[in-house]
Amino acid sequence: MLIPLGQVSLYMALLLAALATVSFLLGVLRRDLLAARAGRDALVCATIAIWTAVGVLLAGLVGGAFQLDYVARHTDQALPLVYRVSALWAGAEGSLLLWTALAAAASLALLSGGPLDRWHAAAGAAMAAVLLLLLLVLNVDRAAVLAGRWPLVTTPFAPADRILPDGTGLLMQLQTWAMVVHPPALVAAYALFTAAFAVAMANLATGRPTTHLPLLRRCLLLGWVFLTLGNALGAWWAYTEQGWGGYWSWDPVENASLIPWLVATAAIHTMVVTRRTGRLAATTLSLCVAAFLACVLAAYITRSGVLDSIHAYAAAEGEDGNILAWLLTHGYMVFSAAVVLVVGAFIIRLRPWQPVPDLDSRPSSAVYRGAMLVIALVLLAFAAGVLYGTVGPVILSRLTGKEYTMETSQFNQLGAVFGLLILAGLAVCPPVVSRHRGTSRARVALVQTVAAAVAVACTVPFVHTLNLWLVPTAALAGAAMAGQMAASRSAFGSLRRATAWLAHVALVILAVALAGSHLVEDKQTFRLAAGDAAGLAGYQVRLKAMDRQADASGTHLKVAAGLEVNRHGAPLAVMRPAIRLNTQTGERQADVAIRSSWLEDLYITLEAYDPDSGQTQMSVRRTGLVVWLWIAAGLLSIAGLIGLLGRQAKTPGENRP
């Protein structure tokens, strides 16, 4: 019953999304409100069908319907309920279904409230087109196409080859709260950027670029908050679960989530100018579209198999001239190319929007606009660099026939240079843009910024070994914090300025934490028996005893090391790194022991244990300022959420500075 119900729901959703797309397009092109209403009705029905499919899949996951291939691959009878539910987004098909469902819900929210007009028809057409793309990928199975079989195999509801009494279960590494929250946070961000894309396209299509800006801002900002949280949770999960001591490996899928974040941050900055003066409207709308296309690129990288990634769901398969299979692989990019062409055409025919004259004529307005534009350009260049490093090797491989990749060290260098540029912006912008409050105040702020940079740079030799990157990073971080402190005098005059100030302070903290975690790092591997001790960077680690525990069924075995940790001779903590083993499958998972302080983390991983000799091998690592990464990510998210509160200007210039 589940399989046909789920399949029929998705088939219906596909047909209804196609109908909605056509109806909305007619509504836009012919200004036909009847067609637009039909499109809205079709979209409502498609949303119901999509959420029915979600409900069916959830029921199958919770109920253990192992006749469904997806359920069998991601759950088993012993899996706790919370992970049965989170299995909905654990796999490629389920996460895509979730994105489709959230995007459909967002489309209904966009079209509700107020009478339907041409603008709503254009927004509806954009949303329906995206849903159509996602539903095509969900409904048409590439493997079936390649094998010459019936292609409409709704992959979340594909039947299992054999019905077995139990599934394979969820891997131990994925059974954490972070993996429950991380994927839906990212998918929610993609859905909100889809809504922002629809608003932007509707503005461009109707030739009214500065309408519905509060709605656009809400979609963009909330999506940005979810993306910040999603990326931070992914990094936190990698740090605490993977056992290699790092939180970011510049993997293609990770980069694909960073790029929309950078583009959206750029859009948030140009949107400030657009809301205040009406300027940079086409730029803001284009960036909203670009943020959405970056999400499409993320989906392409994760699911097409063209890029080998430690996160990717798919492996590349040859299409052997099969056009439909090629389209299914590269459909995301075909869609993106079509969007770029359409947006370009809209912008070319766009009437120049008149800026708000009294605001735009002030000299400080031009400075403010210039500063925002420069910030946006730096962020976009960083995004372009990450994109080049991610897909450039693939393009080069296709052109030369040889495979290439990009070294992680080069990405680190790219991140360091652009991080310094962003810190420089955070230092310089507050005094520069505050000129409208008087040149003397701006001059004082600039002097304070430079003084802070020099003071902090001079303290570096007393704190750490000198390093090419450390001095400019410390100087710019000091200058940036001084710049933000100068800005704080006027920040609390309005909610909008206060949230921007909080976000900028969080960015300074993030930059310092990133630098600290790279520059302050010691690592060593030790082999210890009970009673042995080892030392690293002032810490002394003594192995008290090993502990082996099996669960009642004997399926899961846990080997833990009891460690006494002293620092400079004083007792500090007891830490218990462990290895968990599934004796049936052979799966092993390291439970890392982390002791965090404001300045550094002590990170201990149990690598191996030999019960015959009693020897334990463990890796001990000290990394600086890690806890500030999570604090900064939290502050960024809070700033974004607070920024959603407060009264929104309905027309440019309504909120005076």
């Binding site: 654990a90 077995l164 056992g243 996160h311 290439y404």
Partner: protein, 135 residues
């Protein structure tokens, strides 16, 4: 006014191009070859001592040395190479794990890896458990 707008546009484009060129320059030296084990061994002389990324599956046991190095074999399409890895080797690394290794092939035919990436758990597909057979 129109001249000022053109000047602003030109300045913006130049700044954008400059920043993108900076990014490209920073990344250019990082392009390295990416090969599976069998591809590397088929042309080992050409890639000896060259930084590269190697892909394959772990076969056999992972030996962890007292100095923090790990020794294991990596295989792809029937050919295997011995890997000496100085990066942290997670406890979950075992036979069958798919790995990406950054390093270079030494004169001794061993691949010296300074960085190890293991395939994300969400990619790894396990075999379905067979039902018990017999009375």
């Amino acid at each position: 006014m129109k001249m000022r707008r053109w000047q602003t546009a030109v300045a913006t484009v130049l700044l954008a191009l400059g920043l993108v060129a900076l990014a490209a320059l920073l990344l250019q030296p990082g392009l390295t070859p990416y090969l599976a084990v069998d591809e590397l061994l088929a042309q080992s002389d050409a890639f000896r001592d060259r930084p590269m990324r190697l892909a394959g599956y772990v076969v056999g046991d992972v030996q962890r040395k007292v100095n923090g190095l790990a020794l294991f074999r990596v295989e792809a399409r029937g050919r295997s190479v011995l890997v000496l890895c100085s990066d942290t080797v997670p406890a979950s690394l075992a036979a069958g794990s798919e790995v990406l290794l950054d390093g270079q092939l030494g004169d001794d035919g061993t691949f010296h890896a300074h960085r190890l990436l293991t395939q994300c758990a969400s990619r790894y597909q396990k075999k379905l458990r067979e039902p018990p057979v017999g009375p």
